[in-house]
Amino acid sequence: MTPSRRARRQLIASIMGALLLLPAAAVAQQGEALLRVVAPWEYSSNDPTDTGYILARMGIAETLVQVEPDGRLIGGVASGWTIDADKLTWRFTLRPGATFHDGSPITAAAVAASLKTAFEGESLSAVPFDRVAAEGEQVVIRTKTPFSVLPPFLTDYASVILAPSSFGSDGKVQKIVASGPYRITAIEGKAVIDLERFEGYARAKPAIAKARYTAVGNGDTRANIAVAGDADLVFTVAPTAIQRIDGAGQLKVESITIPRIRPIAFNSGLPQFEDVRVRRAISMAIDRAGIASAILRHPGSAATQLLPPLMKDWHDPSLPPIPHDVEGAKRLLTEAGWLPGADGIRAKGGTRLAAKMLTLSGRAELPVMATAIQAQLRQIGMEIAIEAGQSAIIPAAIRDGTMQMTMFARTYVNVPEVIATIVPDYTRERSTWGTMNWPGRERVKPLTDEYVSSFEETRKATLRREIMKIIHDEAPVIPVSWFEHTVAVSKRVDNVVIDPYEMRYLIDRVRFR
C-alpha cells in the first residue's frame, strides 16, 4: 500500500470512528449534573425591556419585589418596604450584605440608577412616577399621585436590577451583571445561556450548581426533545404533544390553569357590535367546552368568566357562567332587530351581521379555534371571515381603524395585579389587546382610578367586583378559554414548582433526585 493510500484510509477510519463515538458522547452529556431547561424564547438582546423575562425566569436577575406562586408579594432585591403617611413616598430596604454577580455591593444608589432606566420605558409607564433616589440604605420611590399598587408593578421584568457595571457609557445595557441565585457563565448566540450557582447569593442558594437555558422556538422540536429525554424541564408544551411525551416515559407533563386568556375583542363602535345583545349572543353561541376538549385537549380550560379561579381576588364566583345556548343567542339577535336574510345571514337596516376576525398565526391553536368559532357563529346567522397573521396585524388594524373583531392570547399578569392589564385594555378608546370604541370604558375608568389610589382593602374588593361585573355583563371582550401552563418534567428532578404568574421558573428550588 502506498503512503498516500494509507493516509487516506487512516483519515476515513478516523472520520468513521468519530461518527460512531458521537452518540456515546451525547449519552455521556445527558448524564452530567446539569439542569437542562428548554423554553421557546430566544435571548435576542441584553435589553431587559426585551428579554428581562428570561433573566427573571432563570433566576439570573431579580426585581425589587417578587411574587410567590401563591400570589404573595415578597422582597426580591429589597427585604421589605413601607409607605409614608403622604401615600406618595415608598421606602424599600435592601437585603443586608447582598452583592451583584461581580462582587460589588448592592447599594441603594445602584438600585436607584437601575430603576431610573426602567421607569423611562413603556413597561412601567402606567406608574405615575415622580422620582427615584437613594436615601441612606433605602431606595425611595415617589409617585405624583397615590398609587397603592406600586409593589406589584415592581415585579415587572423590565425593572430587573442590574449592577452599574452592566451599563455602557451611553446608558445602554452592555452585559448582564445582576443579583439572582444563578449567574451567566456563557451566552451562545441567542439560543443558549449557561449558568452557574452564585455562591455570594444572599438568600437560600440553589441545590443544583449548573444550569443551561436553551431556546427552542418550534413546538414540535421542543416536544421531540422531551420525548428523547434530552432536557429536564421543557416549558410550553403543545396540548397535542402531551400524550406523546407522557407515553415516551422520559418526562412527565404537568400543567396548571393560569391567568392568560384567549379572548375575542370587538370594535364596539361598529353597527354589528354596538348593541350589547349582539355581543352576548356571540358569546352564547360559542361552544367553549367543545373547543376546550377537542382543540385544546383540556376541558378545564373553557372560560366561564374573564379570569380563572386561580385569581382569587378577581374571579367572582357569584357571576353567572357564560352559557352555551344557541337558541337563546338567536332569540337575543332577533330581539335586537337582526333578522335572517335569504342566505341565512342576519341583517339590520341594510347591514349584514358579518365581520373579519383577525387572529395570530404564531399561536397554532388560534386559527383552528377561529375556524370552529366561524362555524358556530354561522349557526346563529353571523358570517365571519378569518385572517391569520403575525402579531403586528392587530395593533396595525387598531391604529388604522379597520379592526372589526380579533382573537388573540393575553396575559392578565404581566405584573401580579390584574388592574395593570384592566387599565390599558378597558379604559381607553383604542386598546391594543382589549376594547375598541366601547362606551362602557367611561364607567370603568373612575373605578380603576379609585382602585389604584385606594389603600383600603375592603373598598378595593368592592371595586374589583364592580369592574368585573361591568366587563362580564357588557361583553366588550369575551373570553373563550383560559390557558394551561404546561411543563414537561424529567424524572431525575424533584421539587419543581410551576409559577402561574410565569415570572420565575424557580429552578433555584429544583433538586436532583
Binding site: 458521537l22 451525547a26 413603556e122 439560543a191 418550534n218 421531540n224 403575525q390 402579531s391
Partner: protein, 317 residues
C-alpha cells in the same frame, strides 16, 4: 493576464454588481410589503403580548424608520462604502457579527452535508453509470427519485423518529456538540445526493460512450483503467460545476432543516429577519448570498480550468 487572474477579475466584478443589486432588491421588496415595519420590529423585540403602538412609535423614532425611504437607502449605501452593514433592529448587534455567527454554523453543517452527499453519490453514481439500464442503475434511479421527491422535513422527521426518539442514539435537536450535527447533516446529504447521483451517473455514461474511450479500449486498456486514465477528468467537469452551485445553495440557508433541528444557521436568521422586517439583516444577508454565489461560480470556473486543458488554452488565447 493569465486565465486564472482573468476569471477572478471577471467574477469579482460580477460578484459586486450581483450583491449590490440583490441587496437593493431586498430593500425594495421589504418596504413594498404591506404593514408597519416599526410594529413588526416591536413585536420581535418585546414579544407578541406586550407590543403596543407606543413601543412601535418609540422604535420608529429611535431607529429613524420615519425618514423617507430614499434617505434610509442612502444611509445604507454610505455605511456600506466604509464596510459597515449596520446593526440588527431587533438584537442591536452588528449585522457583520450576526452573519458571522450564524454563517459559521451553516458553513459547518453545509460543508459536512455536502461532503457526505458526495461520499454517497460518487461511488453510487459511477457504479450506475458503468452499467446503464442494469439493476444498480434502475435501483439508484428509483431510490434517488424517491428521496428527491420527499420534502427534506419528512426525511428529517424520519431520521429523528428512528435515531433520536426510538433508538435514542442521537439528540433530536441542538447544535453544541458533534452529535447534534449528525442527523441534520445526513438529512441534508440525502437530499443533495439524490440529485448529484443522477448528474454523476449521466456524466459517466456520456464519457464512457465517447470516441476517445472507445479508442482507449482498442488501444488495449481495460474498462476501469481506461475510465481512470481518460474518463475521470472529463466526467468530473459537469459534476464540479453542479457541486459548486449545490454548495452555494446549501450555504445560503436550508431553512427547513435548521428549524427542524433548532440549528442557528443563516436560513433561520433570514426567516426571522423577514418576519420581523429586520431590514439591515435582510440586506446584509442579500449582499452575502450574492457574493457567495459569485464565489461558488468562481470556484467552479477555476476547477474546470484545472480539469480541462482545452478550456484553459481557449482562455489563454
Amino acid at each position: 493576464m493569465n486565465p486564472i487572474a482573468r476569471a477572478i477579475a471577471a467574477r469579482a466584478t460580477q460578484a459586486l454588481l450581483t450583491a449590490w443589486v440583490l441587496a437593493t432588491l431586498c430593500f425594495a421588496f421589504v418596504h413594498a410589503l404591506p404593514g408597519d415595519t416599526a410594529l413588526r420590529i416591536a413585536a420581535a423585540r418585546v414579544g407578541e403580548d406586550r407590543v403596543t403602538a407606543e413601543t412601535a412609535d418609540r422604535i420608529r423614532r429611535e431607529e429613524g424608520l420615519d425618514r423617507p425611504l430614499v434617505a434610509q437607502y442612502g444611509d445604507w449605501i454610505a455605511r456600506l462604502a466604509v464596510a459597515d452593514l449596520g446593526r440588527s433592529l431587533v438584537s442591536r448587534r452588528t449585522v457583520t457579527d450576526e452573519l458571522a455567527y450564524h454563517g459559521r454554523f451553516t458553513l459547518g453543517l453545509g460543508a459536512l452535508g455536502w461532503l457526505l452527499s458526495y461520499a454517497i453519490a460518487l461511488p453510487i453514481g459511477v457504479l450506475a453509470g458503468f452499467r446503464p439500464g442494469g439493476w444498480a442503475d434502475r435501483l439508484t434511479t428509483a431510490v434517488s427519485v424517491g428521496i428527491a421527491s420527499l420534502p427534506s422535513f419528512l426525511v428529517g422527521i424520519g431520521l429523528i423518529s428512528i435515531f433520536a426518539l426510538t433508538l435514542r442514539w442521537l439528540p433530536p435537536a441542538g447544535f453544541r456538540t458533534g452529535a447534534h450535527m449528525v442527523l441534520p447533516a445526513i438529512t441534508l446529504a440525502l437530499g443533495l445526493a439524490a440529485y448529484s447521483v443522477r448528474i454523476i451517473r449521466n456524466s459517466v455514461v456520456e464519457v464512457r460512450a465517447a470516441f476517445y474511450m472507445t479508442f482507449a479500449r482498442i488501444k488495449g486498456l481495460g474498462a476501469r483503467q481506461a475510465f481512470r486514465s481518460h474518463g475521470l477528468r472529463n466526467a468530473a467537469i459537469p459534476v464540479a460545476t453542479f457541486a459548486a452551485l449545490q454548495f452555494a445553495y446549501v450555504v445560503d440557508g436550508f431553512v427547513v432543516i435548521e428549524t427542524l433541528f433548532n440549528y442557528p444557521g443563516l436560513g433561520e436568521l433570514l426567516v426571522k429577519a423577514l418576519l420581523a422586517r429586520d431590514v439591515p439583516i435582510i440586506m446584509g444577508a442579500g449582499l452575502m448570498i450574492g457574493l457567495l454565489y459569485a464565489a461558488a461560480n468562481l470556484i467552479a470556473d477555476l476547477v474546470c480550468l484545472t480539469l480541462d486543458p482545452r478550456r484553459a488554452a481557449r482562455a489563454a488565447a
